[in-house]
Assembly symmetry: C2
Homo-oligomer: 246 residues x 2
């Protein structure tokens, strides 16, 4: 049974400040929770699930399990359709991050929409990016909507939060970024390593971060297009696909 303090904790984890305070985050839904069980570096505090889900699991003996009614689960959920299960999970501590000169990274400058961040993490994994450097004001990667839209990639891709321009300034690797006055991405030689910067949804890449970019790029639009820009997660995907294209 879920106690009142468990319920209070689950509700609290919807807010970033409470995730920071407790060091916990929330994983919701059968797909995300079942996949989580394969990653022992994510320590599970407890699993709250309805009877149907619990009865279907062969072995959960090593976890703290709390049965919960569908109604109570729906009330706790961040999503409109009821999920059978949720887990309270410890936020893993990442080792201090340093850039490997042979590796390709993504850096996010103030990505604010949780759906965008989740989609970027998912797409990054598809294209073999294992670590993402996020500006401090990028949305928290443990936000419930981010977690959900990563579709499991959050378990495998690490997000490091830092003062992005200060971080980039110290790196001695190519730093790519999409800018309106950049060079056509299809005519540039793109390396196998370096850092690709993606800017904010409405303001693009900040001035401080722009000054660190060594290779400005531009995704050309069709001559007939009057669209002003691409969504940030779409731009990330097109750039990553082009880097990984053979």
């Amino acid at each position: 049974m879920l106690s009142q303090s468990d319920i209070k904790l689950i509700n609290a984890l919807k807010l970033s400040k409470n995730r920071r305070k407790t060091g916990f985050f929330l994983v919701e839904g059968p797909k995300m929770v079942l996949e989580l069980l394969q990653y022992p570096n994510f320590e599970i505090v407890f699993i709250a699930a309805n009877k149907t889900w619990l009865d279907a699991q062969p072995n959960l003996s090593q976890f703290s399990i709390k049965e919960i009614s569908d109604k109570a689960l729906q009330k706790l959920s961040n999503f409109s359709t009821a999920n059978e299960v949720l887990a309270v999970v410890k936020i893993p501590e990442h080792e201090v991050f340093s850039v490997n000169k042979e590796t390709l990274y993504l850096a996010l400058d103030t990505i604010q929409d949780p759906g965008n961040l989740g989609t970027i993490i998912r797409t990054a994994e598809w294209f073999g990016i294992n670590e993402i450097i996020c500006s401090k004001d990028t949305v928290d990667c443990y936000n419930p909507k981010v977690v959900q839209s990563t579709m499991g990639s959050l378990y495998r891709v690490k997000c490091h939060y830092c003062d992005l321009s200060a971080f980039l300034m110290k790196q001695n690797v190519p730093i790519y970024g999409t800018l309106l006055n950049g060079k056509n991405i299809y005519s540039e030689t793109l390396g196998k390593s370096g850092i690709i910067v993606i800017g904010n949804e409405s303001k693009g890449i900040s001035e401080a971060v722009q000054s660190c970019i060594t290779h400005p790029l531009f995704i050309p639009n069709h001559p007939s297009s009057k669209a002003e820009s691409l969504n940030a997660s779409i731009a990330s995907a097109i750039v990553l696909a082009e880097f990984r294209r053979k």
Copy 2:
């Protein structure tokens, strides 16, 4: 002043069935409404705006204008941050659609997430796609969240809803689609015309539509990736970028 029946109408337009019944949809926010004014094929029923927004407009004399308080506007809005203005707009009637053999189209098989559809419409315009064929169960392109995430591209890209497999069966043009057993998109010769099919967020392309695909494609993932799939709007973008790449 906004009457009670205006308020009732605006609230009703959040639901697809009421948009069908009235033939109207809702446009929210200064960016979207100002851009709308440039497209006379979209007939404006009325504009409801706060005093600040109205005072800043040079000439709105040809429109039916209703002043509204910020508080009332926030209550009516579909979005968490208050917008200064909204417009009730007539859904334009499209002429009967037929495929031009020289043109590239996008077809959507049961795209259900409004954010995905909006982003797909925006990306489609960027890559010079002017018409999208949608299966009947694809989310309504006049859904407020779709409208918002098109960032104005909805004014220029037409969405045609139809029985998608019946429609595709009758076409004598290349029909492309991303399938798990498709051919590597980077090694295929992609034409300048035809129809690119994008499948549902979780189920992909339905069997009936799959049987119409003449050119199955696959976006290769990185060997290290354990991600199972890409988001539907991301897949659309990568495929469109590859078709338009020079």
